[in-house]
């Protein structure tokens, strides 16, 4: 109940983030229900059904990542002096975060169920009744228990993940609730962590992935995990190579961001460049991982376009939904993480403004950081995407 009360009084932007989580969860729930209806409609094609289920794990992972990022930025689940004074410590707050994540994901799952039944034609009385009855195999009955288990998947996984993510947070009991309140014992800034060491591993993984993909794509033909709707199209080796490349990019992300910051503050920096570079170096761990994931997803998107975009087959509606979910969730995670970094540095920004630093200087530092990251990551994404698509298109 406390989770709901806190949600009711929160800022519209916070509610919007929660609604986006609900929407993503609805999309994943819909995809999972579609795999279920495919399985019950085509009992003979069990391999195809399993494949669909496996492929819908990718949007599920992206949604869970987004839900965790939103839970971390949610002001109602951060340790606060007001709540800690009444005995809501870090453990209870993690539970609170889990409950509020579960609430928004369950809301999405419910919407997905209603929408699914509506499109199948099981619920009548609205426009587009049974508009997709053919696609969703309306003639086969839907097993209730299986549907409920699949719909509970996103809320349970997301709630567990956000509880685990927030449990590891450092305890700062006396964070000021707002800018006006003057708390003498402000929380100590956590000591900066060591520079991320994943860069060599990430580069190695990405290179191995590209090599595997180039090597395997020579054989061509047989396919282990084809994308549903276009069977026999994606060779397994290519997929393995792509996965390795994606993991490599995600691992290398923090190291690359750290390097960006280091370059930004090198060679006699002024105030703006100094602040931009140092902050990026300290935030590289936080911001680098989702940035790497976004790069990996974009690489896969460019590769997929090179592979299928020119072909005669257009993208199926469910594949398109999955692709939009993955792209949207990873991008939203990146933006939410940037917001989290900004929240974490709000106190320093206030101190700088008190010194008389013009807000334009702080904005310039932020813009400089974004530009540096874009300058490094955009060509890198393009290069890896081209390299990944090369053996498939030639």
């Amino acid at each position: 109940m406390l989770a709901l009360r806190l949600a009711r009084g929160s800022h519209p932007l916070v509610l919007l983030r929660r609604l986006l989580v609900a929407a993503a969860s609805a999309g994943v729930g819909f995809l999972l229900l579609c795999t279920l209806s495919y399985a019950s409609g085509h009992p003979a094609h069990s391999t195809g059904a399993v494949l669909r289920l496996l492929w819908s794990l990718v949007p599920l992972a992206a949604t869970v990542q987004f839900a965790v990022a939103v839970a971390r930025t949610d002001p109602s689940t951060r340790p606060r002096s007001g709540l800690s004074a009444v005995g809501l410590g870090p453990v209870r707050l993690a539970v609170l975060a889990a409950v509020s994540t579960a609430v928004s994901c369950t809301l999405g799952s419910m919407v997905a169920l209603l929408f699914f039944l509506h499109l199948r034609g099981d619920l009548t009385g609205l426009p587009f009744d049974g508009a997709a009855a053919g696609l969703l195999d309306a003639e086969a009955p839907l097993p209730l228990a299986a549907a409920l288990v699949l719909l509970a998947l996103v809320p349970v996984v997301a709630a567990t993940a956000s509880a685990l993510a927030l449990r590891a947070e450092p305890v700062s009991t006396a964070a000021p609730d707002n800018a006006a309140s003057k708390v003498l014992t402000e929380p100590e800034a956590p000591p900066p962590t060591a520079p991320p060491a994943g860069l060599p591993w990430g580069v190695a993984l990405a290179a191995v992935g590209l090599a595997v993909e180039a090597y395997m794509s020579r054989g061509g033909g047989h396919s282990l995990l084809p994308l549903p709707g276009r069977l026999e199209a994606t060779p397994a080796g290519v997929l393995a190579g792509w996965t390795l490349t994606a993991v490599g990019l995600a691992v290398a992300g923090p190291g690359l961001a750290y390097l960006c910051g280091r370059l930004l503050q090198a060679v006699r920096p002024g105030a703006v460049r100094l602040l931009a570079g140092r902050v990026l170096m300290d935030e590289s761990r936080r911001i680098g991982r989702p940035l790497g994931v976004v790069c990996a997803v974009l690489t896969a998107a460019v590769g997929g376009y090179a592979l299928y975009g020119a072909g005669a087959h257009p993208l199926g509606p469910l594949t398109a939904l999955g692709a939009v979910l993955v792209l949207g969730c990873t991008t939203a995670t990146l933006l939410t993480t940037a917001l989290e970094a900004r929240q974490a540095r709000a106190q320093t920004a206030r101190a700088l403004l008190r010194l008389g630093a013009p807000p334009s200087a702080l904005r310039a530092a932020t813009a400089l950081r974004a530009a540096a990251l874009l300058l490094v990551f955009a060509p890198l994404t393009w290069l890896i995407a081209e390299l990944a698509a090369l053996p498939l298109t030639v």
Binding site: L184, T185, P192, L274, R278, L352, L353, G356, P358
Partner: protein, 245 residues
């Protein structure tokens, strides 16, 4: 509008301010002379911090005037007030409020760097001040590796490095032990005296207030002659506060 007396660096007249309706200042007037060390004293919640915010241009009072060197501060736009804070004022908060990503000398040189001073020159000034405040050996360390007293001395060095006209110190020693407290205060006041810097500091400690040339006692947002409350008789005011709990 009455022009302020010429020998006052800062001159305020009948300042009124409230935070979202809760009254903070109720008609305070004061003048700060050039090179003077002025202590604003009073218990917590009497409006010391709000007064310092108003005088330093961080807040615009709802009523009343603030003049700095015969220039009205209360009519300035936010951009001009920022510039005034950056170029002419220094601020020391109860917490050091250092930038955790920068090392000690960069933190100290930050006001200069923000003004656009060349890096080499800013570094030289910052290192000189750190040396004078006995934290020269820590110039390359990050704030999180230092002790609270050292950090507060960095904040003092940061305020002094900009060569301001006025330094506002809001309870500069509230979070320190007594030995650190004396050290910080001694360095601050002696540096101010030798460089002709005016200091306005807020404190609730009578011992610290004794270091100042002049004290301005506040109580409930007003200037009073003395902070000590008159000892009321036992029965007086009882009836007005009777509660059934």
């Amino acid at each position: 509008m009455v022009a302020p007396p010429d020998n006052d660096v800062i001159w305020a007249r009948s300042l009124h301010h409230s935070h979202n309706g809760s009254p903070a200042l109720g008609g305070i007037s004061l003048g700060v002379r050039d090179g003077e060390i002025l202590a604003v004293t009073g218990p917590r919640g009497c409006g010391k911090t709000t007064l310092l915010h108003c005088l330093s241009g961080q807040l615009v009072p709802e009523q009343g005037e603030v003049w700095f060197n015969s220039v009205p501060v209360h009519t300035m736009g936010p951009r001009l007030r920022e510039r005034l804070r950056r170029d002419r004022f220094g601020w020391i908060a109860p917490e050091p409020q250092l930038v955790p990503e920068l090392n000690t000398w960069e933190n100290t040189a930050l006001p200069l760097l923000l003004r656009g001073t060349p890096r080499r020159e800013a570094k030289k000034v910052a290192l000189e001040w750190l040396e004078r405040l006995d934290i020269g050996p820590c110039a390359r360390q990050r704030p999180h590796t230092l002790l609270q007293g050292q950090r507060q001395r960095i904040a003092v060095a940061r305020a002094l490095a900009g060569a301001p006209t006025v330094i506002f110190a809001d309870e500069p020693t509230a979070t320190l032990h007594r030995s650190d407290r004396t050290h910080v205060l001694r360095t601050l006041t002696s540096a101010a005296r030798s460089h002709g810097i005016t200091i306005v500091f807020a404190t609730h400690d009578a011992e610290i207030a004794a270091l100042a040339d002049r004290t301005v006692p506040l109580l409930d947002g007003r200037r009073v002659a003395t902070v000590a409350l008159p000892a009321g008789s036992d029965t007086e005011g009882r009836a007005a506060c009777s509660l059934s709990v």
